[in-house]
Symmetry: C2
Subunit: 191 residues, 2 copies
């Protein structure tokens, strides 16, 4: 219902759209969601008019970036599930999320602050990720690597929480960061 492309979009338009998405992700990640839309347009080598034609609202742009991230995350999860054993796949995914989240959190916050129901906005992509997490978690629990009483909501919440925790630690202090993550993993029962 959202990405209908009745006509396949002119070549330059498609290119600009992609550039905008990339630039937005980069700029917002590096300097926060507060930066002017003009800056994003400039980073994409495009005028603001073009930006707003593709994304009617700053919020819509944020949302698009967030959705794309989640889609990528879902794909990663599937990949890991195929490549690694049940315990390892879960751990690897956890680590992936914890590393990738610091900025995603900000996006979600900004959208929530703008009065957007993030759940609903990312529903489509969210389903995929949740599905992947559910599979990863079930595998790990079946293999006895994770407490059996935990559900997907708690686990995802803990992933976000862990990534948030790391935001408060010195980026240079690797050992401390490792210890913090370790605490959560230990608590999950994944020694």
């Amino acid at each position: 219902m959202s990405t209908d492309q009745a006509r396949p979009l002119r070549a330059d338009a498609a290119r600009n759209r992609a550039r905008l998405l990339d630039a937005a992700e980069e700029v917002f990640t590096a300097r926060g969601t507060g930066v002017r839309t003009e800056e994003v347009a400039k980073a994409a080598g495009v005028g603001v008019g073009t930006l707003f034609r593709h994304f009617p609202t700053k919020e819509a742009l944020l949302q698009a970036v967030l959705v794309r991230r989640m889609e990528r995350l879902g794909q990663e999860a599937e990949r890991l599930r195929g490549e690694l054993g049940p315990g390892e796949a879960f751990l690897a995914f956890f680590a992936l999320v914890v590393d990738a989240s610091p900025s995603k959190n900000e996006f979600a916050d900004a959208l929530a602050a703008a009065g957007v129901d993030v759940r609903e906005a990312t529903q489509e992509a969210g389903k995929v990720v949740l599905q992947a997490v559910a599979e990863l978690l079930a595998d790990a629990q079946r293999a006895g690597r994770v407490r059996p009483d935990l559900g997907v909501p708690e686990v995802t919440a803990l992933m976000v929480g862990a990534s948030r925790a790391l935001e408060h630690l010195d980026p240079q202090d690797g050992p401390a960061r490792r210890r913090a993550v370790e605490v959560v993993l230990a608590g999950l029962g994944a020694g």
Copy 2:
């Protein structure tokens, strides 16, 4: 160096200042840090002029509220340390922070987004809390209730992380929330 009161502030001024602080805490907590300063003034039964005389900036107001919270938290920690045994005091404090944080997080985020170095801004009050956490943690570790390799930074980060995790869980779903916190506590070695 900040709360110098050369002259002791006229009675009405002091009262208004206190009301503003209370109103700000209430309003910002209930409706987010995005609400207009005018609303805060109204809630305090005061004009915006008065608000800005006491706090030259919205940001300064936010900061003042945050500092006051941290001071209270520090006092709570001391109290708990006096009243409970080493393990229990630590757990109780952890629970306290996790419950009290959801809004404090927002404050801190807002300040950070405004380009304020939160560390520096809350330094005075922060020291007290950190000191208290350090004592609580040392007690708990001495009593064998917490992994001995953890430092204050990791523990505080995990407290914040845990509170953030709860933000992503259904407020109605008590059991899930409890399980999530339990995971972190178990990981700390305080099962």
